[in-house]
Structure formats: structure tokens, C-alpha cells
């Protein structure tokens, strides 16, 4: 059952990595604006044709 020592070590290491990733994102301002990107993704890159009036 000594394998448990190794497994727990791995799981904690993994969790620490995620925590660090969160801190990194936080420091680089990825959580500053949580709304605008959700709108921005719906805007097309290339300007569309003027829609025809009907």
C-alpha cells in the first residue's frame, strides 16, 4: 500500500499546479473583465455585408 504515498504526492502536485495557474491568470488580469469577452466572441472578424432592407 506504499503506492498511496506516491499517489497522494502526485495528486497534491497536480492541485498545486492548478492553484498556481489560477494565481497566474489572476495576476495577468484575466479575471478583470468577465463580461465583455462573452459579447466579443459573437462579433465576426470580417465585416459582414450590409444587410439588405426588405
Amino acid at each position: 500500500m506504499s503506492i498511496i504515498y506516491f499517489l497522494i504526492g502526485c495528486s497534491i502536485l497536480l492541485a498545486v499546479l492548478f492553484l498556481c495557474a489560477f494565481f497566474w491568470a489572476q495576476r495577468h488580469g484575466q479575471h478583470d473583465d468577465l463580461y465583455t469577452p462573452s459579447v466579443r466572441i459573437l462579433l465576426d472578424d470580417e465585416p459582414r455585408e450590409e444587410p439588405k432592407s426588405d
Binding site: 498511496i4 492541485a15 465583455t36 466579443r40 465585416p47 450590409e50
Partner: protein, 795 residues
């Protein structure tokens, strides 16, 4: 897919009705030249997709004149930009009009209009745009003018609180929550084997898990939970016992006992209770912080005044920052601008709207040589003035030297939490020491374990969470009803209010707009006479009569005589016309006019009168009904009392106070407070600032939350005035919910204590009790708040 039809009568750009003249381009109609020019710029740069994302995304543009000369001044540029060097400049601008996806799209395409702007990013909720541009190729003024040209006028003020809102504290809290949550999760996993039972030959694991648990507890206590210890230190120095004390005590005891148990192999410790406690407490703290991105509660006169003013020097106009204005300088104030300092009128036709400053509803005419106080907005043509007092010492800004503005806000009401936690701490310590003393003679070890168990179990986690969760739920319900509270404490203050004081102009009446009604039977010829007479006068009421009557040809009059503030006599086509107050027209001087009326007499025959009534906000009826309940209602106005009669249905006669200066308003609030009334002041203008600050709860009312509103505890959108009674009742409900959840948490505490005093608290019970009570409290408060809001029809 939206159908994009071009309606011939609505403007393609802003969606307003095209009323008089049609402006057309590319078979599209526009309501004004401004809208057309925006379309022209966008179509010439191929940015017409702007109109594809939303119908009529633009703002109407009545004013096309640019007034950004001051952005060439290096001293002003320095204040505004975030960063500047030879290569690039970074600036963040606040644009109130940002409202849809088209706005985001267009403002992020600035590069296609001018390549010198190479980065622009919109923050939709904060209504800000972050722009980077090449310093060499384009100036800040050109950038701002470009944004203005495409229909987005930035709001530039040197005291831009919104920009400086520090997000440092919130960031820090999130990091602490992340650490606590991370440790909580891991510890819980590692504690399970212990709870489920380990066999004798697995004892090695027990020590291993124990050590790991201590390792995880250390950052939770010394990083995430450290705020509680430092807060207790500060509070004890100030001789205050608040809720942080039992919390810090609980955390400390949990940690020490856990470490002791694990080191001595006497038990498993309470690591997961400890981590969970800190985690939930911090989450509660986070929930309590409500951030409004687009609202500022801390504004003063500096954000009301312009950034710079045009100074005349040797015949040249030059923009000068407001703080550099000195006595004797000649300034030029254009149409729609605000007079920033007390000054003497030298040139021009001054028609000044003081409604924001003094509460007077009608614009005031000033004659050459008269002193004009700061804060008025010029409605007529450009003026020239000579400054007689620097901005900081003018009549208006002196109010900010009052002690109400310098005093710290510590005499506000105590919250329920503060009141209760004092007794709670004392009782908790009594029980803990009581059980310790009880067990000492029998078993010292058991005495210690009972003592610590009491402190652990009774740790007022649920109590500490009930207020933040209830209040944040309440806050978002208020938010949804367009009532924005500064923080969660304001809800409790709202619940204790028993007196409402309302300002008149702009608060219960809609600023500026007066409706005119004619109580006279006049034929066209007579109307023309009246029009001709009134068109000669600069008096605001005369102008309104002219506007009401519409277009007539003005006839020349003889023997024209205007008695200032009383009326006019004139002769037209041998008809004698008398227009003015009742006393002036009818000659009987005793009649006191209660409403604004202008009477007309033609050839000695009384013809009737024009009545002027301030447009009232809807909802005054509902607010007035409150005084039948437990609330006292006062009116406090800077205006004269011509509306007294019109307001009698709403206010008791002796509760209406008119012609009050800003200082008198403040003193009135103070006198109410001295007779132990809890006062809510509601106002809109700078003249209410002192009263708003002095009152127990200052509410600024506004038609547009992005516009200037004086510093206050809460901002109410004018449309929601009618809901004020519901707001007050709902705030009382929330306080009751807090009381109830306090009782619930007491039940849990008593249950836990019954175990704790015997000294036989197992880690498992603590680990179940703590999250269970937290979950109960959170779900109870959110459900109860929701139901209460529904009951008060706020949802």
C-alpha cells in the same frame, strides 16, 4: 435574425423620429446633421457593420461642436493618461453611452479609422475603453475628438473616482479564498480515512495524513485567516469587541488543538473544520463586497465642474485647468457650460439654470456687473466673466469645508451583528471557562478539551455568514429595481429610518421642465398681442409663454414698461396689455400667490391666466402614503414657495420648508437628528450634498445613473421613486431574516455545545456540524430574502 427595415420616419443612426427637416444619405434618413456625419465617417471607413449588429445603435447628437481644446494642455494630459513615453500613450476613457454589442465592435475598430491608434479594448460593465496610440502621430485631443466624431463622447473629469477604484483588496481576498479552498478540498480528502476508520496496521498512514493536514492548515491560518487576527488586534486597541474576536479565537484554538493532537498522537485534530471555517468566512466576506462598475458614490463638486475653462488673455482664448484659475482672470462660458467660480458678468445675456445648486426651478436672468455664483449652467449665448474668487473658495464649494464632510462616518447606526457579537463573545467566554472550572477537579485533560471544544463549536460561523448572505441577496434585489446601495450596511440603516426628508427641484419634480396651462379664452389676435409683449422680455416665464403660444409675428409695442419680477405693461394697436402677477395686474396687493401664475388683462378686462406647474415625478403619491404609516415626511427646498399649494396633498403644511440654503438644509437635518429621528435625506443637487452627508442615510436621485450625482449612501433611479415604500418595508424584512437566521445558528450552537461541555467532541461531529449549519444559513437566507422580495412585489 433581426429584420432591418429602414423606416422613413426614424433616424437610421439613433432611432429618433425625424421631425422637421430630413437629412438623407445613401437612401437613409437621419434626424440631425450630427447623426448623418457619424454615418458618413463610418461608411467612408467601411464600418457599416456597426448598424448590422443592432438597430439604431447610435446616440442622438444634438451638439456637434467640439470642446476639447483643454486636451492640448500638458498639465491636463498628464493627469489623464495612464502612461506616456516617446513612442506610445495609454489612456483609459469613461464613455457612459456604451450600451450594446455594436458599441464594443465599433470602439475596438478605431484602428481602421486611424492607424495611429493601434489598440483599443472595451470593458463593457465599467463602460471604459483602454486605448494605446502612437504619441508622435496623434494627440490625445485628436483621439478624443475621433471618438466623439463617431458618436461616443467620453466623460472626462479630473476627480474620476471610477477610474481610481482600487481593486487591490478584492484581488487579495480572491487569492485568500483560493488558498483556503485549495487546502479545504485536500484536507477533506485526507481526513476521510480517519473518519471511516483505519485498521491497526495502517497507523503509518494516520501519521502521514496528520502531518499533511498540518501542512495544509498553516497557510490557511497564517495567510487566509490572518486578517481576523490583525482585525482583532486593532479592535482590542480601540476597546471594541466585534464578531472577529470569537472567530479569531475559534481559528486559533482549532489550530493549536489540532497541532497538539497530531503531535502527541492523541487524536486526528480538526483540520477540515478549520479550513472549512476560514473558507466559508472568506466567501461570506467576498459576497458582502458589492461592486458597481458604473456608479460612483463619492463624487463632489470637482466631478461636477469641467476640467478646464476658457480664459481670455490679450484677446486670445486659452484653456486653463480649473485649479489654476486666479482672481481677476476673464473667462468665457459657452452655451451649456457650468460657471466654475464666483464671477462678475462682463458681457453677454446671462440666463442661468441654478436648479442643481440652489434648487430654484426657473432659470435666473443676470444683468451686467452682477455677481454670478459658481455652479450655474448658462442656457443662453456665450458669456464673459471676471473671476472674483478662486474655485476652492467660492460660495458653493465652501460647503465642503463643513465638518459633515471631514468627520469620519463612525456615528452611523450600529448593525445588528455588531450589537449581538458583543454579548455573544462574553457569553461564549463564560461557558468556556465555566466548563473548564467544572472539569478541572476531576480531570485536567478533560477540562482543557471541554474548554477548547466550546470555543470551536460556538465559533459564530453561521452568525458571521447570515448578514453578508442576506444583505447581498437584498442588494441585488434593490439593484434589479434600480436602487443602488453603497454597501450592505446601508440595508440595515434603511430599515431603521423613521423620517423622510425630500428635496423639491429635481427630486420630486423633474428638473427644468415646467408645464404651462392656459386658463383663458383668447382669440388668435389676443394671443398675438401677448406673444408680442412677452417676446420683448427676458424673464423666464415670458419666454415660456412665448414657447407655449407658438410662432406669431411680433407686433411693435409702445409704452413698454417692465417692472422687474412683477409684470409688464405695453400698448399694441391701441390695446393696453397688462401681464404679470395677480397683484400687478389686478392691483390688489394682499393676495399671496401659492402657485406660479401669470395673469393677463387686455384693455382693463381680465382675460385669464397662465399657470406654471413643475412636472412631478410619478410615485409621489405612494411616497406620501408612507406618512400615514410610521414615517414622517418633510419637504426641504432651496426654491421659493410658489409650489406650496401644489404640494399640499402630499406634505403637511408645517412640514414644508422653502428657501433653504445648503447650510440651512444641513442644519435642519441635524435638528431632526437631535430629536432622535433617523433621517433619510433624498436629494439630487449639489445644494443637497451637505444634508445628504449629515443624514443617517443619504439617497441621491437621478434620471441617469451615469450622470453626476452628489456623494451619498445610495443612488435611486428616478423611475423607481414609487417603489420607495416597498424598499423601506423590504429592508425591514431583511433585518427580520437576519434575526431568524441568528436564531437558527443559535440552535446549532446549543446542539454542539451540549457535546462540547462534556469534553467529548469528536472531529467528525465538528466536521459535520460546521458545513451543515453554514449550508442551512445560506439556503435559509437566500430563500427567505427571495420570498420577502416577492411578497413586496420587488421581483
Amino acid at each position: 435574425m433581426a429584420i432591418h427595415t429602414i423606416d422613413a420616419t426614424t433616424c437610421y443612426h439613433c432611432g429618433n423620429d425625424c421631425t422637421d427637416v430630413h437629412y438623407e444619405l445613401d437612401e437613409k434618413s437621419f434626424c440631425c446633421n450630427g447623426c448623418k456625419s457619424v454615418y458618413k465617417i463610418l461608411s467612408s471607413t467601411g464600418l457599416c457593420s456597426y448598424y448590422a449588429y443592432n438597430d439604431h445603435p447610435g446616440a442622438t447628437r444634438a451638439r456637434v461642436e467640439k470642446r476639447f481644446e483643454y486636451l492640448d494642455e500638458p498639465s491636463i494630459i498628464k493627469e489623464l493618461v495612464d502612461y506616456k513615453d516617446e513612442q506610445m500613450t495609454i489612456v483609459t476613457l469613461y464613455i457612459p453611452y456604451i450600451h450594446c454589442s455594436s458599441c464594443i465592435w465599433l470602439l475596438e475598430q478605431l484602428n481602421r479609422i486611424n492607424p495611429a491608434i493601434y489598440y483599443s479594448r472595451v470593458d463593457f460593465l465599467k463602460k471604459q475603453i483602454n486605448i494605446r496610440f502612437k504619441t508622435q502621430e496623434i494627440s490625445l485631443r485628436e483621439v478624443v475628438e475621433l471618438i466623439f466624431d463617431i458618436g461616443y463622447e467620453p466623460l472626462i473629469s479630473l476627480q474620476d473616482v471610477i477610474k481610481k477604484q482600487n481593486k487591490g483588496t478584492s484581488d487579495n481576498l480572491i487569492r485568500k479564498i483560493a488558498v483556503a479552498g485549495f487546502c479545504f478540498g485536500n484536507v477533506m480528502l485526507l481526513s476521510f480515512p480517519e473518519y471511516l476508520g483505519l485498521s491497526v496496521n495502517e497507523q503509518n498512514f494516520r501519521h502521514f495524513f496528520g502531518w499533511l493536514n498540518i501542512l495544509f492548515a498553516v497557510p490557511v491560518v497564517f495567510y487566509s485567516g490572518w486578517g481576523y487576527f490583525s482585525s482583532v488586534r486593532v479592535n482590542l486597541r480601540n476597546k471594541v469587541l466585534n464578531i472577529d474576536f470569537p472567530l479569531a479565537l475559534g481559528i486559533a484554538v482549532l489550530f493549536i488543538r489540532t497541532v497538539a493532537e497530531i503531535l502527541t498522537h492523541t487524536g486526528a485534530g480538526f483540520t477540515d473544520t478549520l479550513c472549512g471555517l476560514v473558507f466559508f468566512l472568506l466567501v461570506g466576506k467576498y459576497v458582502q463586497q458589492k461592486t458597481y462598475y458604473h456608479i460612483s458614490f463619492e463624487r463632489d463638486y470637482r466631478s461636477f465642474f469641467p476640467v478646464a475653462v476658457q480664459v481670455m488673455e490679450e484677446g486670445m482664448e486659452k484653456p486653463v485647468p480649473l485649479s489654476n484659475i486666479v482672481i481677476g482672470q476673464r473667462i468665457r462660458i459657452r452655451h451649456g457650460e457650468i460657471i466654475p467660480a464666483d464671477a462678475i458678468l462682463l458681457k453677454g445675456d446671462a440666463r442661468i439654470d441654478f436648479s442643481f445648486v440652489t434648487g430654484e426651478s426657473a432659470p435666473v436672468n443676470k444683468i451686467l456687473g452682477e455677481v454670478i455664483y459658481a455652479g450655474g449652467r448658462q442656457l443662453g449665448e456665450a458669456l464673459e466673466l471676471e473671476v472674483i474668487k478662486p474655485v476652492s473658495q467660492s460660495y458653493l464649494t465652501q460647503l465642503w469645508n463643513n465638518e459633515a464632510f471631514t468627520r469620519k462616518q463612525d456615528n452611523r447606526m450600529q448593525t445588528f451583528n455588531q450589537k449581538v457579537s458583543k454579548y455573544f463573545t462574553v457569553i461564549l467566554l463564560c461557558i468556556a471557562f465555566g466548563s473548564f472550572i467544572y472539569w478541572v477537579p476531576a480531570n485536567v485533560q478533560r477540562a482543557f478539551s471541554a474548554f477548547t471544544a466550546v470555543l470551536i463549536v460556538a465559533c459564530p460561523c453561521a452568525l458571521a455568514l447570515s448578514t453578508p448572505f442576506t444583505m447581498s441577496a437584498a442588494l441585488s434585489i434593490f439593484d434589479r429595481n434600480l436602487f443602488y446601495l453603497k454597501n450592505t450596511d446601508v440595508v440595515e440603516q434603511l430599515a431603521r429610518i423613521d423620517t423622510l426628508v425630500l428635496d423639491k427641484t429635481g427630486t420630486i419634480t423633474i428638473g427644468g421642465e415646467q408645464s404651462v396651462t392656459m386658463h383663458a379664452d383668447l382669440n388668435n389676435r389676443e394671443k398675438q398681442y401677448i406673444y408680442s409683449v412677452c417676446s420683448n422680455s427676458g424673464h423666464p416665464l415670458s419666454r415660456q409663454i412665448c414657447a407655449y403660444l407658438g410662432h406669431y409675428e411680433s407686433l411693435s409695442s409702445v409704452a413698454y414698461h417692465e417692472a422687474t419680477g412683477q409684470g409688464i405693461t405695453a400698448q399694441i394697436n391701441n390695446h393696453l396689455i397688462r401681464i404679470g402677477s395677480m397683484a400687478f395686474v389686478l392691483g390688489s396687493g394682499n393676495i399671496i400667490e401659492l402657485a406660479t401664475e401669470v395673469h393677463v388683462m387686455i384693455d382693463g378686462i381680465y382675460a385669464g391666466y397662465f399657470a406654471f406647474k413643475q412636472e412631478q415625478r410619478t410615485g409621489l403619491n405612494e411616497v406620501a402614503d408612507l406618512c400615514d404609516a410610521d414615517y414622517r415626511l418633510y419637504l426641504l427646498s432651496g426654491d421659493n414657495d410658489h409650489d406650496r399649494r401644489a404640494l399640499l396633498p402630499y406634505f403637511m403644511d408645517h412640514h414644508m420648508h422653502f428657501s433653504k440654503s445648503p447650510q440651512q438644509k444641513l442644519d435642519f437635518i441635524k435638528s431632526l437628528q437631535q430629536s432622535h429621528q433617523k433621517v433619510l435625506m433624498m436629494g439630487d443637487g449639489l445644494n443637497d450634498s451637505g444634508a445628504l452627508k449629515q443624514s443617517d442615510l443619504g439617497v441621491a436621485i437621478t434620471d441617469n445613473v451615469n450622470n453626476f450625482s452628489p456623494g451619498s449612501d445610495a443612488i435611486l433611479d428616478g423611475r423607481s421613486l414609487r417603489k420607495l415604500p416597498q424598499f423601506l418595508r423590504f429592508s425591514k424584512d431583511t433585518v427580520q431574516i437576519i434575526h431568524a437566521s441568528f436564531l437558527i445558528s443559535l440552535v446549532y450552537n446549543l446542539f454542539g455545545l451540549s457535546y462540547a461541555v462534556t469534553g467529548k467532541l469528536s472531529p467528525l461531529i465538528a466536521a459535520i456540524l460546521m458545513p451543515l449549519s453554514t449550508a442551512t444559513i445560506i439556503s435559509f437566507t437566500s430563500i427567505a430574502t427571495h420570498l420577502a422580495a416577492r411578497f413586496r412585489k420587488l421581483l
